[in-house]
């Protein structure tokens, strides 16, 4: 399937990431493997504004309970993560995700299956 911007075939390997944002389509070169640490860092970056008190955001953090984020904001964050890691997470899958760890695992799993 060709890239809508350049007409070139889309590279599906992990080192080339197509980021689509508004009308702008840019390609970023990423490290060959997306590490779990990368995914965790990105999730924590999105969740930081919803941190409750001093409690740090860790793998076991339950997104809907331990943070001040509402369900709509969770879905919007998922959209951002989808585009960052070039995966789609269906809403029924999102509904089953409770912790930060589970979210990271889901993204890594979907990336591996591409």
């Amino acid at each position: 399937m060709p890239d809508p911007g350049t007409g070139e075939p889309l590279l599906r390997t992990a080192h080339k990431l197509i980021v689509e944002n508004d009308d702008l389509v840019v390609s970023l070169d990423l490290p060959l493997e997306t590490s779990r640490a990368d995914v965790m860092r990105e999730i924590c970056h999105h969740l930081a504004p919803y941190q409750a008190g001093e409690k740090p955001i860790v793998g076991e953090t339950v997104i809907s309970k331990d943070l001040t984020i509402d369900s709509l904001a969770v879905m919007d964050m998922v959209m951002e993560l989808e585009d960052r890691f070039d995966v789609s997470i269906p809403m029924n899958v999102v509904a089953e995700i409770h912790t930060v760890d589970q979210l990271a695992d889901t993204i890594l799993d979907l990336r591996a299956r591409r």
């Binding site: 944002n21 509402d70 879905m75 919007d76 789609s88 809403m91």
Partner: protein, 409 residues
């Protein structure tokens, strides 16, 4: 844990709302006088939040048609189309809506909500893919909960975001259905439909457009965004409602798909609910004729939109992104929106208040809907009132602008 404990958070927020002295979610119209005025709290109040875009709720010809139908066929059908039969008028209404769109098939529902809920959840099933705009109406989200299809959201009004999601599906099996809205109900903005249709064609996805707020308002003959964007033939399903421009209640779906009628025995929100009463069917049929016969109502609606939108923008209010029959006024937070709403009601003007979680991106809004029956004077008065309240509450910054008064005294 008690049954209502899960709503504790909402209950608290709701208590905040009620402390303003009036409950915006339980407002009582003691008497509705016209499409633009009602008695609320014993006082005549200007209505600018009714979705009554053409003002047809009091159209004499529609009212007469409804009254005649009640005398001829009674007050209700007391059953569903499937179990208890259709009246001739149901079938005629479906034929007339299909003809209005130039489509082969139409199904009429008892509400617009049920049309979206039933059609969307039934069109796609296990193994299919449903792609919805992030700002979709609750009826579309509820359909997502009912279907076995995989649901993915794309960014609001962003064809590139839809493209990325369809591309990621790759060669996975299953149908793709994309759901869009002609005009979004909170901020009054339209979908960039041509761009979306191009993306859908590229990936072989079906397109469903909900024209609930755009029927009558958009398109040369009022068929909605599909018509104004010139893509009527590329839209596989169009859903809409009778409860806004057509001034009654009910929903519909039109399509050219040869097998469309199978939905009559598969869509549960069609099968297991009572059909529309004769009076509603009769007034809707007449309202459709009025929409076709009086294009000047559409022009008046857009003139009124320009008066309100441009007037509020000139005073410094932050509004939705474009002119639309819904004018959403952004306010900084929930309590300001409720306080502002309350002050407007005290000043004799009723609008809607929209706060999270019913709004996109957590915004708080005063939601105004414009009517062709509004007079310019009514809308100019509203702009004056909102400007005054905006200054009192500190929403509008800076010194009041000097107004130019023409002529000498």
């Amino acid at each position: 844990m008690g049954l209502f404990d899960r709503h504790a958070g909402l209950l608290e927020a709701y208590r905040d709302v009620r402390t303003t002295g009036a409950d915006p979610f339980q407002i009582r119209m003691e008497r509705v006088l016209s499409p633009t005025e009602a008695i609320i709290d014993g006082r005549k109040t200007l209505l600018v939040g009714t979705n009554n875009y053409f003002g047809l709720t009091f159209d004499p010809s529609c009212m007469e048609a409804a009254i005649e139908a009640i005398r001829a066929e009674g007050t209700g059908t007391t059953g569903s189309r499937i179990a208890n039969g259709s009246y001739s008028e149901h079938v005629l209404l479906e034929e007339e809506i299909a003809a209005f769109y130039g489509m082969k098939h139409c199904m009429v529902f008892t509400t617009g909500y049920q049309a979206n809920l039933g059609i969307i959840s039934t069109l796609v099933g296990q193994g299919d893919h449903l792609l919805i705009d992030a700002d979709s109406h609750a009826s579309i989200y509820d359909a997502c909960k009912m279907t076995q299809a995989e649901v993915v959201r794309f960014k609001h009004n962003d064809p590139a975001s839809l493209d990325a999601r369809l591309r990621r599906l790759g060669d996975k099996p299953g149908n793709r259905l994309v759901v869009l809205e002609g005009i979004y109900s909170m901020l009054g903005d339209s979908a960039p439909l041509r761009g979306f249709v191009d993306v859908c064609k590229k990936y072989g996805a079906y397109v469903l457009v909900d024209e609930a707020h755009s029927l009558g308002a958009l398109g040369e003959t009022g068929r909605g965004l599909c018509e104004s964007a010139g893509v009527l033939d590329d839209c596989h399903f169009i859903v809409g409602t009778f409860s806004k421009t057509l001034g009654a209640i009910g929903g519909y779906c039109v399509s050219n798909d040869p097998d469309f009628d199978i939905l009559r025995v598969t869509v549960r929100s069609y099968m297991f609910t009572a059909s529309l009463p004769p009076s509603i069917v009769a007034s809707v049929r007449q309202a459709l004729r009025v929409v076709e016969a009086r294009p000047e109502l559409r022009k008046k609606l857009w003139d009124n939109v320009a008066t309100l939108y441009d007037g509020l923008a000139a005073q410094g209010f932050k509004l939705g992104p474009e002119h639309g029959p819904v004018v959403g006024v952004h306010l900084p937070d929930r309590m300001m929106a409720i306080g502002f709403w309350r002050a407007m009601l005290d000043a004799g003007i009723y609008v809607n208040v929209a706060v999270p979680p019913a709004t996109p991106n957590g915004v708080s809004l005063l939601r105004c809907s414009v009517c062709a029956a509004h007079t310019t004077e009514q809308l100019e008065h509203m702009i004056d009132v909102m400007t005054g309240i905006g200054r009192q509450l500190g929403v509008l910054s800076g010194t009041p602008k000097l107004r130019v008064v023409g002529g000498s005294r």
